[in-house]
């Protein structure tokens, strides 16, 4: 393979991308070297097993991916703003919407939420860490390297270009030769391993590590949403694992699952993909529901309305999510009966979701609403998501979906749920828990500015798309017809509004770091759940003494009884795991193995795989038992943090 085949060439935008990547990388390397931070980076971050730091790394990566996916989106919107524009050619456009969709869902939305779970869930249940901190680090690095693998396709080898759904036969070896599609398959596979491990990890953590006395139906609602989400992850991700593996074997080893030759059945890919894919969209919405519940209860200064109904509706949504996948290919021609079954099951999801919506409204009833920025996101979510949800139900009516399918009506639907649901929740959650993570709040003025820009931009971008869909504009076209010009143009303007909002958000992080007042208590918002019972910054062992739980909203109770998580009489040495570089190294090796497999360099791939196995053997013989934090150390830390 010659070099110009290896590197993507011939596109000014890609050259610009390469230059940008080289510049940013060298800037980072320079800064790290200049400030002598390499050792710090390794000791404090790359080898950490602390759930709070891992969570922060997840969120930072997710923000970077939001930036990348957003830049993709803006490029698409520019191309679609005018008829016959030659900003992007068709090949490049195809690559961009593919990476946009994949990056946003797999490498932005999920890691963002998992990052928040990482930080918040152990704190909310009064635990000192995850059940398996080592595995947690492994999960993070598998996501990180998966994302890296996917993203380098931009400059090396060429990006996948068959849509985030990668339907066969288009995505098969015959019609998409070359490494692009392999990047998709292996990047997702690599990060999928980590997601599954995280699901198991969180489930065990929540089931086994709750503070004494905390019953399942006393858990904070975000923890509940995490538990339900883990459940979906555990049962849905293996399907993706297999689907990706089958296509990989098809492409690299010549099997015939989804091919047009050898009596393969391309639609089987669609079937498997959506068996995972539909639960996946609920994986990214349920934690969002959890975040909104926490934020709304906190800033309405009121207990969550219908807590039990909220929990059961999530469980019901999770169960139904496995029974509706066919609504993504109603038009495959499986017959009226099959479509009827899945049409009805799809619409049923509206019922438990509606219960949640009305319970949030119920929480606002007779409340005292404080309009902080996190609360604004949560409030904006309710009406916006309902629009997305009810149009989802319209898509669920299979006979009507024959007209909506593959049109911008669909594009509008899923951005309404994904952005008003997931992205708003990410912003709300980040701003809400920000003081817990970084010891200071985000500036409210800039926070509100970015909120209004983003939310108004959002509606301006996507509301017109419903009408474009009804006017027969299909998705994934790189060139609009003149009849669709006006609405598309409006949509593009809105997208830049969102971009501006995001830019203000990022600026706010810097600005607040410079100017915001540091937190003095750990309870920044007069919170209701245990994470606010720790001092800020949270010591690495989280709780000096584990509280005993008597009911829902544990911290409200504690405040009433004047209790704290630092009871000097009850201190004991705390067992904590040691840092380790193994997860990083193991996943780096797996990354290199996958990279070699992308280019089908088999020997190299096997060589690195052996390296991974060696690392596993090393781990098996590892006798690292962790260390104890002594009582004296706890005392000094806590006294200092609590200003005693």
């Amino acid at each position: 393979m010659s070099l110009d085949e290896f590197f993507v060439t011939g596109e000014p935008l890609i050259y610009a991308g390469m230059v940008a990547i080289v510049l940013v990388t060298s800037a980072i390397i320079f800064l790290l070297t200049y400030f002598k931070k390499w050792g710090w980076l390794w000791r404090e971050w790359l080898t950490t097993v602390d759930h709070k730091k891992i969570g922060i790394m997840y969120i930072l990566s997710a923000l970077a991916m939001l930036f990348r996916g957003g830049a993709d989106a803006l490029m698409m919107r520019v191309q679609l703003a005018f008829p016959d524009l030659n900003f992007l050619n068709t090949q490049h456009y195809n690559e961009i919407f593919t990476t946009h969709g994949t990056v946003m869902i797999i490498f932005m939305a999920m890691p963002f939420l998992i990052g928040l779970m990482n930080i918040v869930v152990p704190l909310q249940i009064g635990a000192r860490d995850f059940a398996f901190p080592y595995v947690n680090a492994l999960s993070f690095w598998s996501f990180f390297f998966g994302a890296l693998l996917f993203n380098i396709s931009f400059v090396i080898g060429g990006s996948p270009d068959a849509g985030w759904t990668s339907y066969t036969p288009l995505a098969g070896a015959a019609m998409s030769p070359g490494p692009g599609q392999n990047f998709y398959l292996l990047g997702l596979q690599l990060s999928g391993i980590g997601t599954l491990a995280t699901g198991i990890n969180l489930m065990v953590t929540i089931l086994k590590m709750r503070a004494p006395g905390m019953k399942l139906f006393q858990m904070p609602i975000f923890t509940w949403s995490t538990l339900v989400t883990s459940f979906i992850i555990i049962f849905a991700f293996p399907i993706l694992t297999v689907a990706l593996a089958l296509m990989t074997i098809d492409r690299i080893f010549g099997s015939q699952f989804f091919t047009l030759t050898g009596e393969g059945l391309p639609m089987m890919w669609a079937n498997l993909f959506w068996m995972w894919g539909h639960p996946e969209v609920y994986i990214v919405i349920l934690p969002a529901f959890g975040i909104f519940s926490e934020v709304i209860a906190t800033f309405a200064k009121k207990q969550l309305f219908g807590y039990k109904a909220m929990v059961w509706s999530m469980i019901l949504i999770a169960a139904l999510s496995f029974l509706v996948w066919v609504h993504h290919f109603f038009t495959m021609g499986a017959g009226a009966f099959v479509n009827s079954v899945f049409s009805v099951s799809t619409m049923l999801i509206a019922v438990p979701t509606g219960v949640k919506i009305f319970n949030w409204l119920g929480t606002l009833y007779k409340s005292k609403i404080q309009f902080t920025t996190p609360m604004l996101w949560a409030l904006a979510f309710i009406p916006s998501f309902v629009i997305g949800g009810v149009t989802g139900v319209m898509l669920g009516m299979a006979a009507a979906d024959y007209q909506f399918h593959n049109s911008y009506f669909l594009v509008a639907h899923f951005h309404y749920v994904l952005i008003a649901g997931t992205v708003f929740a990410c912003f709300a959650g980040l701003e809400y828990w920000y003081p817990k993570m970084f010891n200071h709040k985000l500036n409210e003025k800039f926070g509100k500015l970015s909120f209004w820009l983003f939310v108004i931009g959002f509606h301006v971008t996507f509301f017109p798309q419903y009408f474009l869909g009804l006017d027969g504009m299909p998705r994934r076209i790189f060139d609009i017809g003149p009849e669709w010009f006006t609405l598309n143009f409006i949509s593009t303007i809105g997208a830049f509004g969102m971009g501006l909002g995001f830019a203000v958000f990022v600026f706010n992080i810097y600005y607040s770091y410079r100017t915001s007042q540091r937190e003095t208590t750990g309870d920044s918002w007069d919170g209701r759940t245990l994470e606010w019972a720790t001092p800020t910054p949270v010591p690495h062992y989280n709780f000096a003494t584990q509280p005993t739980i008597r009911g829902l909203d544990a911290f409200v109770e504690m405040k009433k009884h004047n209790e704290s998580t630092f009871d000097e009489s009850k201190l004991e040495p705390i067992h904590m795991p040691n840092n380790t570089g193994q997860p990083f190294i193991m996943m780096a090796l797996l990354f290199m193995s996958s990279f070699a497999l992308v280019f089908e360099w088999m020997t190299l791939a096997i060589l690195f795989l052996v390296g991974v196995i060696v690392m596993m053997v090393v781990r098996s013989f590892d006798e690292d038992e962790g260390h104890h934090v002594e009582v004296e150390e706890i005392k000094t830390t806590e006294r200092q943090l609590r200003g005693l």
């Binding site: 059940a131 398996f132 599954l196 699901g199 198991i200 990890n201 489930m203 065990v204 089931l207 086994k208 590590m209 555990i234 049962f235 849905a236 991700f237 293996p238 399907i239 694992t241 297999v242 689907a243 593996a245 089958l246 074997i249 098809d250 080893f253 010549g254 099997s255 015939q256 699952f257 091919t259 050898g262 009596e263 393969g264 059945l265 089987m268 079937n271 498997l272 068996m275 067992h575 053997v617 098996s620 013989f621």
Partner: protein, 200 residues
């Protein structure tokens, strides 16, 4: 954190061990779904043999039955190994684990022989959708067995070195779960691939 409850098997005595075992059970639940996806693919692609031989032409009961008995027996000996472990007999544990491994190797040997035989008859991974799904389903199980064998060897070394401790007993217990689980999967492969393949 050692609790003093009597009769609690060693592998359950620390909280960490309990969590690991629970985590592994959950992992096995995920594995159920993983294999079910392969079964689903197999079932849907059944009959799509293109120009390759039909399964009923190639499948023979003798070898498959031998494989089944080998694996069932290894599951049994693995159970005995755990029994020995709970009696505190390290040498018994190691002996029965080794017997289990040998049986597992026997199973693998037959499986490899069988694959070679089928491909000589013209049914390879790439000859048709049906045969792709057959090889990947059976092969994934075989790969799991291989991994299990490698893993068990590591554990036997650790047992030699350290004897039965809270850590090693937990690891052995977990691998026993894994091994029995592979037996469960094989029962379904045996039934729905081979028996049904011979009937239809």
């Amino acid at each position: 954190m050692q609790s003093n409850v009597k009769h609690t098997p060693l592998e359950y005595q620390t909280e960490h061990n309990q969590m690991s075992i629970l985590g592994f059970w959950i992992f096995l639940a995920a594995e159920v779904v993983l294999f079910s996806t392969l079964f689903a693919t197999y079932a849907v692609l059944f009959g799509r043999t293109a120009n390759a031989p039909l399964p009923s032409e190639l499948f023979g009961i003798e070898i498959v039955l031998i494989m089944t008995v080998l694996l069932l027996t290894s599951s049994f000996t693995c159970g005995i190994a755990i029994h020995q472990m709970r009696h505190g007999s390290n040498s018994g544990l190691i002996t029965w684990l080794i017997i289990t491994l040998v049986l597992g190797l026997g199973f693998l040997g037959f499986e490899i022989y069988e694959f070679i035989h089928y491909s000589h008859e013209g049914a390879t991974l790439s000859s048709s959708a049906f045969w792709s799904s057959f090889y990947v389903l059976a092969g994934t199980h075989g790969l799991h067995v291989t991994l299990g064998i490698g893993w068990a060897i590591l554990l036997i070394i650790q047992l030699y070195k350290k004897g039965i401790t809270a850590v090693t007993s937990r690891k052995v217990f977990i691998i026993s779960l894994y091994w029995h689980f592979l037996d469960v999967i094989w029962i379904f492969i045996f039934t729905s691939v081979y028996l049904i393949g011979m009937v239809i």
